[in-house]
Amino acid sequence: MDFDFGSLLAFIIFGVTIGVVYGIVALGISLIYSGLDIVHFAHGEIYMFGAFLGLVLSQQIGIPYPGAMIGAMVLAALLGMFIERVFYRRLTRSGGGYTVAGMGMIICGFGMSVALMNVAFLIWGADAEPFPVEFGIEPLEINDISIPPSYLLTAVVSLCLMGILNYFLRYTKIGLAVRAVAHNKDIAFLMGINVPLFISLIFGLACALAAAAGVLVGPMQSVQVEMGYLMLMKAFAAAVVGGFGSLPGALIGGILVGIFENLGAAYISASHKDIYAFLLLILVLMYRPAGLFGVVAKVKA
């Protein structure tokens, strides 16, 4: 393929738009990690549920797309909080605190992932469902490559969601309490913060973000029960590249993963598209194990 600057730009734009979506899922994973000290392996399935919920709300019930997205976010947040209360909390309780830095929680997360996937399979079946949405915007044309409106919308909406979350965490008092919980649960508890409630809130926020990502990606690709796995892996890569627990890190990591895999697909081989994200992950782990924005190691008291 001849090199030309226009198509390079287009590939980068594609990379950034999908990268921003990886970023918001990674943000959720990072949030849960800071709140509960676990990597939530069922997060991909929350994303998949979000996509299906958005599909059902907009195609079957007929709610307009933005409303369907908000609906899916709320429902996914409730689902996430339900899972946290009923399954994960039991485990943290038996561990004697709010965190178990053990295998139990990770395995429970994997189990939840499989269970959720099968529940989705029973409800919606194994077929990929199209999620057509009419945006009423003309595709953006750059050198024969047209960028569909759904991509542009995705990037804008994702960035807005991140901005809102950032504002919430930085400048509101509840956000301050969330940060206190993430920093040290015991102290936060003694400061009069209802830590279990805030862990639920963190879970809800993270799941709402994942659902938003699902509803955004739905129109670009299609919606199917196995879509969560790959998203989880990419978002995980994004979170690690950016540095676990770092909010801007998740965004930058996501964008880097997105650009990296799109350029790899364009200039090396498209059939190995999913490898490049992990190649980047390995490179970052080799040279900057804490990620680009990460704190070296979270010290546990």
Binding site: K173, H183, I187, M191, G192, V195
Partner: protein, 267 residues
């Protein structure tokens, strides 16, 4: 009526009785000292009272007229009990102002949903709270550091901030765990002055655990002495200074009187 009262307070870890059958009354408006050799159960006592540990069955803790024996830590904090830690445990990545604002969290009058919506009531409440917190920082002398991360403060400033964070909870009872640990004698005196002025300003009752006996003897109205998890003595400083059981617990053996007194006075 006592502000804090424990009856038969016990806690065992396996076979070890860290605290056993402690009856203690803290009168409102006083500074109450809690002393004892290392491992005598002082910290466990704090952890039991603040809800970090669950006491053994048969224990009873009453605070400000409420039975708090089985309450969780955040519930007890909301009733008006605050504490500091020997190792401070500040939120080091947050700014000084944010640290005290976290302390003030339990006084928030609005809910999560309202906060997310950012109503004008929320903004007004936040603004008022922020002014109060800046006022508090001014009083403890940290106003100039409000916007720098707590981790960048000096050791003495961190101690002040830990104190400020506890005061921000607007407590009725303040539990201090070795406030003077690691400070030079001059700084300890200064810190105790600050603590006493805070006590007057915010109308606090204070329970202090401290190893520097000179400090305890000069500031506390009542002193309780723990040894091996049991209360072995209680009374005003003068009485404790001359108590035979206390002297034995600290020194373990008989010594000529004058020598013992000097040792206990930290001379």
């Amino acid at each position: 009526m006592a502000l804090l009262e424990t009856r038969g307070l016990s806690k065992s870890f396996g076979g070890l009785k860290a605290v056993s059958g402690v009856d203690l009354k803290v009168q409102p408006g006083t500074v109450h000292g809690l002393i004892g050799p290392n491992g005598s159960g002082k910290s466990t006592f704090f952890n039991l009272v603040t809800g970090v540990y669950q006491p053994d069955p048969g224990s009873h803790i009453e605070f400000d007229g409420h039975d708090i024996t089985n309450l969780q830590a955040h519930g007890i904090a909301a009733l008006g009990m605050a504490r500091t830690f020997q190792l401070l445990r500040l939120f080091s990545e947050m700014t000084v102002l944010e640290n005290v604002m976290v302390g003030n969290h339990c006084k928030t009058s609005y809910g999560i949903v309202e906060s997310l919506l950012g109503t004008s009531r929320v903004r007004q409440a936040d603004q008022k709270m922020k002014e109060e917190m800046l006022d508090l920082l001014e009083f403890i002398g940290l106003a100039n550091f409000a916007d720098i991360p707590a981790g960048e403060l000096s050791g003495g400033q961190r101690r002040l901030l830990a104190l400020g964070r506890a005061i921000a909870m607007k407590p009725k009872l303040l539990l201090l765990d070795e406030p003077g640990a690691g400070l030079s004698p001059v700084n300890v005196d200064k810190l105790m002055e600050t603590i006493l002025s805070l006590k007057e300003r915010y109308k606090l009752t204070v329970v202090v655990v401290e190893h520097i006996l000179k400090v305890v003897m000069s500031t506390c109205e009542t002193i309780s002495v723990l040894d091996h998890g049991q209360k072995i003595a209680e009374g005003p400083p003068e009485m404790i200074k001359n108590d035979h059981a206390v002297i034995e617990a600290y020194l373990g053996r008989e010594l000529p009187d004058e020598e013992i007194r000097n040792a206990i006075r930290g001379q």
